[in-house]
Symmetry: C2
Subunit: 102 residues, 2 copies
C-alpha cells in the first residue's frame, strides 16, 4: 500500500469532476479543493493512474491542465502540518495512513 | 535545507495573493495554481510559517480556509509524476531540490 498526495489544475468542470470522482472512488480523501490524499494498493493505483491519463487525453483537457501524483514517505506524513481547516475525515485519513504503513 | 510542498485553499483574493507572495519570496516555485514547492533553510522556513500563520489570523480568513505544509522526503521527489503541464521552472526546481539534498 502506498500513500499519495494527488493535486490537479483542471480548467474544465466536467473533467475536474471526473478526476475527483476517480480519486475518491479509489479511496482517496479530499484535503483541499484540488488536493487529495489516499493510501492505495498497487493495482488500485495503477487503475487510477490509467483513468487520470485517459482524462488528460480527452478533448477538453487544455495545455495548462496538470495532475501531480506524489507518493508520500512516512516522514512526510508524520511531519506535515495544516494551518486552518482540517479535512473532515482527517482522523480516518491519518489512522488509515499510519495503520497501513506501520 | 528542507524541500516542502505547500498548498492552500484561501477564499479571499488578497489573502491568497499575500500567501503566494510570501511563499515565492521565500524561494518557492508555483507548481499549480494553489500548489508550490521549494527548498528552504530552517530560518527561512520558520519565517515563512510565521507569515502564513499571521495570514490565518487576519479577519478575512474564513473557517474553510487552510494551508498544508508537507516536508518532502527524497523518495517523494524521485517518484513524483506529473500528467500534463510541467511547471515552467521545473528544470530549476528539480535541480535545486536534487542538488541541495544529495
Amino acid at each position: 500500500m502506498q500513500t499519495h498526495l494527488i493535486s490537479y489544475d483542471i480548467s474544465d468542470n466536467n473533467l475536474r469532476l471526473k478526476a475527483a470522482k476517480f480519486i475518491l472512488r479509489a479511496g482517496g480523501y479530499r484535503i483541499q479543493h484540488s488536493v487529495f490524499m489516499g493510501t492505495f494498493s498497487k493495482s488500485i493505483l495503477l487503475k487510477l493512474e490509467e483513468e487520470l491519463l485517459l482524462i488528460s487525453n480527452l478533448p477538453r483537457w487544455t495545455p495548462d491542465d496538470s495532475l501531480l501524483l506524489l507518493p508520500l514517505h512516512e516522514y512526510s506524513k508524520r511531519e506535515l502540518s495544516i494551518i486552518g481547516k482540517v479535512p473532515e475525515d482527517w482522523g480516518l485519513i491519518n489512522r488509515e495512513i499510519h495503520t497501513l504503513v506501520l
